[in-house]
Each structure stands twice: as structure tokens, then as C-alpha cells.
Point group: C2
């Protein structure tokens, strides 16, 4: 008999090669300890896997969790109107507790939609988000958004503190990156400083890159070069970098991404809603780039539902290239799982395989949108919605079962969250 | 006291102008009989509207309901491989009962996701779909798919019979259109015949138009003109026409659409998945064209979830035009409701307004993805998913309440459906 904490019995599951198999998945401690094909299993705790589909938990490779507070506060606006008139003034008013409760509602939303890890850039007060990671049981890859103007050095010092205090915390579920915000908010000299400090600690980088055409035009005007070229010269990319958006890329920039092993977080929902443009995913994947998926913040998406990003990634690449064969279902899922984990620097995460961390989602396949049930991976990507997320497991710990949350008090969180949002917006 | 069958009390609802108001909605018989702002209402049957958002039921302006049987049977294939090797051979084997049960599962799926009317083109045996409309309580706008080759005349005769037997049936919930399939399956002479027969009966037309670039190229090669030009000459457009897809349009074709008052069913999900291209929605709307939304069949979508099409329509138009202001949330909802009803020829449907048919959906706003709750219309379009559809009403009759189906036996339908699908595919 296999020593284990629990077994998911007789479950269809997504194999690392994208195929679907039926097996028993044993979890011991925080790891997948065995995958067997026996008809019967003996174990103390058995989770019935029939009519369920097991996938690795989704990795949200780019978000700003606390921005749930601004969900649908301002939609259908021009980008700069939206940011300058509506979003920034509210963000300026956010307190420490707002950051906490915004991220906590985000945690509920992520667990409910099958996300087990998220790369968050926000700040200040990222220690509040760390607290949410600790309490929720999720995995968090946190960075402080660094703006190089005014108190840029103070912010950098704060990101260093964040690293020292929280990298590896919550039983290793928290890791810390450095978050230089973007080329238009971080001059090259500042990026050099960030590169130096991150390099000393061995920390990775999370940065917005090439999101809009305006950003490129301004960069060329200011520095005579495109963003990836300017940033490459600062040495920042010699520290492992996660680049969010990457919508407008020259061929030379794609070469930099490939050669510097920069990982890309593609945010199709946000890029579509803000009319930023389309990330050339097919081209990047062909160059062997690790392309992950992110939701971006809830003010520009407007949710944290990775299943929507998976579907959008698959659909948008097809219509963009007019090639129905690009980004098939299995690859879209890989972007949200294995590639996601690699993109945010997680080891042994993102595959249902023995020895990997037990970050598992069980999808309920009883709904009509799962019928007929020939190809669960394809049904998940092209037909189901995230309300089918039934059970969510991180590091072998059950965060949700039967859609019941185990670590968070949803009603209490919504009530506190509503009070904060109303105070911030005066609504 | 207002005489009524029931009242939805204290509910936020979508007004025809796209704004949101809070009121009581009275339903008498099959109509909305009053909308009041009194705090208290006296009525025999009261539906609690608090924490609910009422919208008109969605109109799916282009689908092939029975194709649920082929959902995810063949995904991520090139279009012609998909159609010729996988889809058509299975469709050839479909029996009368298959058509029925496929449409019946579709009815469950549509009710569960807030759709109250659907324009269906399939066949033969559209009388089986009519039976499903009758039994489910939905509204169906049915047409037989007419292929002009071989037994084209027999099919046309069958569409005439369908009209004579079912137009206005099920208390008026069934209307019949003529369904010439497409320019590549219906030669101009055949379209002339269809136009004549439809004209005699005063029936409207539902036809696939300009879905792929190949279709345009072939048409130009065969007839020296583009599809809308060829079809216009047959007189078909003098009968009111619903044109599905309209992806590749010349400016002259847009003029024909505008001048002939052709209504367009935009199918963003299907067009993206099959890599067909992007319908120029912004341009069409600017010309005053009635643009509705459709899911297409579940073999190419892969679901019948109109909320996804609404979101895709809003997102895709923005990234296509690089204009974040185009197709705002209220307009996307209008495309799925008022414009949908107009597109499929329904009178007094698609608005929450006194005198209109009581086709109403109540969305549950308790989920985290509805928080904070500033703008329900925006939250519905950009954040929620269709699992929030709580109550669905058609012609004043409740088809679902509290997510419990009132007219259909879901478990029995899934079981019969699975047997049919397995027999057809040999799986």
C-alpha cells in the first residue's frame, strides 16, 4: 500500500504531453507521490475522481490582485483618460488595508476559477498581499511595482526588504521578484540600479514591456531605440525576466527575448479590452519562447479568470494568423500551467507528474457544456466555464472542495471589500 | 393594485437606453405589464429581485442546435479537413431522433446560459427542433438548411412545408425562415427559386454569407462578382434577410447590406476558432446596420453561451480597430437583445419595456466576480460568466428559477444524448 495523505480515485487527467488518461493520483505531503492504473485503491482518504477532470492548477503570470477594488469602476474609456482620470486618483487613496482586502477578494476569485499561483505586481504594502498568500494557501510570486521617478530609491529599498522578509515564506509558497514597472516609468539609470540589486540577491524581474504602440514611439523618441533594446543595455535582462504584454515586437526584439531567455506573460483579455493590440504568440512559440498567460488587473480585464485567458489565447492566435492549427487546446493549457510555472520561476510546478508539487484542480464534467465527453482538454478550453472548478489543491492542501472554500470566509471578505471599495470611490 | 401574474420586486434592470435602474417589473400573461418604482408591492406571486440583475433574454441569431452532438469531436483542424473528414460523415448518419435530442440538449444549455430565443438552421427534420421549442418553452426561429444541388427542390419543398406547418406554432414562439445555406452550395438559379417561394409566403431568409476568404475567391472565380453582388441579383435580398458571419466585406457589399436592410449575425467565437477572420462590426454599426450575435454550432464554438459572444464582440472589435471606445458594454448587450430580436424578425422582443414580451433573465450578482457592484451591465459583459443566470422567463413563463429547470429533465436528456452521440461517433 502506498503511504499517502489522499488519493484522487479513477480520474481523467491532463498528462504533461497534452493527452488525457484515466488513473489514480496519490498525494503525499505537498507532492504527487504516485499515479497508478489499478482499479481499486486502498487509502484512508479517497476523493472520488469520476466525472472529474484533473489539470495542474493555473498560473496567473501577470496580475495586480488588489485592483479588484476597481473592477468596472471605469470601463469603455480611452487608455489615458482611464488611467489618469479614474484609476490613479483612486489608487492614490488606497490604504494598507485596501491592498489587503483587494488581494483577499482576488484570492477567493482565483481559487474559485482554478488558479493556484499568481504573479502579482503592485504596491506599496506588498507584505499585505504576502499575508493573503499565507492565509489563502495560494502560491504568490510578488513584486513591488517600481517607478523610477521621485522616490524611486525608496521603492527599490522596499522591494529589497520585501525580498529579504518574504522570499521563501509561507512554506515556500511565496517568492519575491523585483518589479520595475515599465520603460516609460523607469529611466535606464534606474533600471541599472534595479538590475544590480536584484542580481545581488539572485532575484528575478517582472516588468511591463511593449504594451502599446505609444509606449514604443515614446521610447524611440526618448532613447533612439525600441524598449527591449534600451532595457537590454541596462543589464536588467541578465537577471531572469518575466515580461508582461509584449504586444508590439520587432524581429530584433524577438531575438533579444529568445537569446536572453525572457519569459512572456500574454494578457489577451486586457490587450483586447484596452485595444492595445495582439501579442504575436505564434511567432514567439515558434522561436521557443516560454509564453505564459495572465489576466492583468481586474480594472482592465475585468476578472481574474484564467480559463477565459486560455480560451482567448487559443482563439485570438488563430484569427490573428488566419491559421486554425495554431495554439491548439493542449498548448493553450500548457501556457497556463507548465509554461506559467516556468515563467514565474517555480520549480516542479505545472505538471501532473510524480515528484511535482500537488497543485491540482478537479473540474466537474457533469454540466451540459461538457457533453458529449470525448475530449476533456478540448472541452475545458473551448466550451466549459470556470464555474466547473470543483476542487482546488495547492501543495497537497485542499483550498476548495465541492466549490466550498476551505481557507477563506467569502461572505466576510465580500462585506469588508465592499466597504473599502465604497469608501475609495465615494459610491 | 395592478393585475398581474407575478412581479419581480426591487430589481436592478437594463433599460433600453443601456442605463441601469432599480424598479419592480410586473408580468401579466406573456407581457411586461408595468414597471414601477414603489418601495412596496402587493401581488400574489413575488420574485425577490434583490442582488439580481434583470436583462432581456439573449437572442442567439445564428446556430445549428443539433450540432451539440459533435461538440469537441474534432477540434484544432483545418476547415476543410474538419468539415469533410469529420463533421459531414457524422451528419450523414444522423437520424430524426438525433436531431431532436441534439437540439434538446442545446435547449438545456441555452436556458442555463440566459438565451431565450435562437435562430436555427439545420435539417432535415426541423420539425423535431420545432418540437423541442414547443417542449422547452424557448422561442425558435427555424429554417431548413437548403443545398441547391441534387435534391435541392425537394429540400425547398420541405422548407415550404415547415413554414406551413409551424410558422406561428407553440403560441407564436415558433417562426419559420427559409435557409439557403451559402453561395457555394446554392447556385443563383436556385436562390431565385428560394426567393420566389419565400416571397409568396412572406417568409424571411437566413443564409451564411462571406464567412471565409476562400468563399469569396471561389465566388469571384465562378460568377465574376462578390457574394453579396451575386445574391442581390437573384432578388433574394428583397425578402428580408439575416446574413450570418459577414467576415470579408467590400465597401460595395456593405452598401448592399445597408440599402437592402440586411441584418447581420456576427459569430466572433466561431470565426476566431476556425480562423475565418473578423467581421467589421464597427463599420457596420456606423452604417446603421442591425448587427446581432450568434454562437454558430457547438462543433465550431464550442458552446451556445451568448454571454461569451457578447464579451468577444466587445473585445474583438476593440483590438481589431485599436479603438477602446468601440462596442461598449451597453452596445454589446444591445446586439444580443434588441438587435438580436430585430435580426431574427421578432416583434416586441428584446427590451425590458411595458408592452414587450416578458422574455427576461435574472442574473445572480452575489459572486465575487460581481464585486464591487457599481455597474451591473459592465460586470455582466466584462466579468461574470453564464453560471450567474439564475432565472429565465419566456412569454411570462418561468423556464428556470434558482438554476432549476422547470420544463426539461436535464439528467434524462444528457443520458439519451450521450447514447446518440456515442452511436454516431462509434466512441
Amino acid at each position: 500500500m502506498i503511504q499517502n495523505d489522499f488519493v484522487i480515485h479513477d480520474v481523467k487527467f491532463l498528462k504533461p504531453d497534452g493527452e488525457v488518461d484515466t488513473a489514480n493520483i496519490f498525494v503525499t505531503g505537498d507532492k504527487i507521490s504516485a499515479i497508478t492504473h489499478d482499479d481499486e485503491v486502498t487509502a484512508e482518504k479517497i476523493i472520488d475522481g469520476r466525472n472529474k477532470f484533473a489539470t495542474p492548477g493555473f498560473v496567473n503570470a501577470h496580475t495586480h490582485a488588489s485592483m479588484t477594488l476597481l473592477r468596472s469602476y471605469s470601463d469603455d474609456k480611452a487608455l489615458m483618460d482611464w488611467l489618469q482620470k479614474d484609476i490613479w486618483p483612486i489608487e492614490d487613496k488606497m490604504t494598507r488595508h485596501d491592498i489587503y482586502i483587494g488581494a483577499k477578494l482576488a484570492a477567493v476569485e482565483m481559487i474559485r476559477s482554478g488558479t493556484t499561483a499568481f504573479a502579482d505586481m503592485y504596491g506599496p504594502c506588498m507584505d499585505e498581499v504576502a499575508k493573503v498568500v499565507d492565509e489563502s494557501g495560494l502560491r504568490g510570486i510578488l513584486s513591488q511595482g517600481l517607478i523610477g521617478f521621485a522616490d524611486g530609491d525608496k521603492k527599490l529599498a522596499s522591494n529589497i526588504d520585501l525580498y529579504k522578509n518574504f522570499h521563501g515564506a509561507a512554506d515556500g509558497r511565496i517568492t519575491i521578484m523585483f518589479g520595475p514597472h515599465a520603460i516609460y516609468t523607469c529611466p535606464p539609470d534606474y533600471l541599472r540600479k534595479v538590475a544590480t540589486e536584484a542580481g545581488k540577491l539572485g532575484a528575478e524581474i517582472h516588468m511591463h514591456m511593449n504594451e502599446t504602440q505609444t509606449e514604443i514611439d515614446d521610447c524611440v523618441k526618448n532613447y533612439g531605440k525600441r524598449p527591449f533594446e534600451v532595457v537590454a543595455e541596462t543589464g536588467l535582462f541578465d537577471t531572469r525576466t518575466l515580461a508582461a504584454h509584449c504586444v508590439w515586437l520587432s524581429d530584433d526584439e524577438i531575438k533579444i527575448i529568445r537569446d536572453k531567455k525572457i519569459r512572456v506573460a500574454h494578457n489577451p483579455g486586457s490587450n483586447m479590452k484596452l485595444a492595445s493590440g495582439i501579442c504575436p504568440v505564434t511567432k514567439l512559440l515558434r522561436e521557443g519562447v516560454t509564453v505564459a498567460l495572465g489576466t492583468d488587473g481586474a480594472a482592465s480585464n475585468n476578472n481574474l479568470d484564467m480559463l477565459e485567458e486560455i480560451r482567448l489565447a487559443a482563439l485570438l492566435a488563430k484569427v490573428d494568423t488566419l491559421d486554425p492549427l495554431t495554439v491548439p487546446a493542449s498548448q493553450a493549457l500548457q501556457m497556463a500551467t507548465e509554461f506559467g510555472a516556468a515563467a514565474v520561476g517555480l520549480k516542479n510546478v505545472g505538471r501532473l507528474e510524480v515528484g511535482y508539487q500537488a497543485d491540482i484542480v478537479l473540474w466537474n464534467m457533469r454540466g451540459v457544456d461538457w457533453q458529449p465527453n470525448y475530449n476533456p482538454a478540448s472541452l475545458l478550453v473551448y466550451s466549459a466555464n470556470s464555474a466547473a472548478a470543483d476542487t482546488v489543491i495547492v501543495d497537497g492542501k485542499i483550498l476548495m472542495q465541492n466549490r466550498e472554500l476551505k481557507t477563506l470566509d467569502e461572505e466576510k471578505i465580500i462585506s469588508e471589500f465592499t466597504a473599502c471599495a465604497n469608501r475609495l470611490t465615494g459610491k
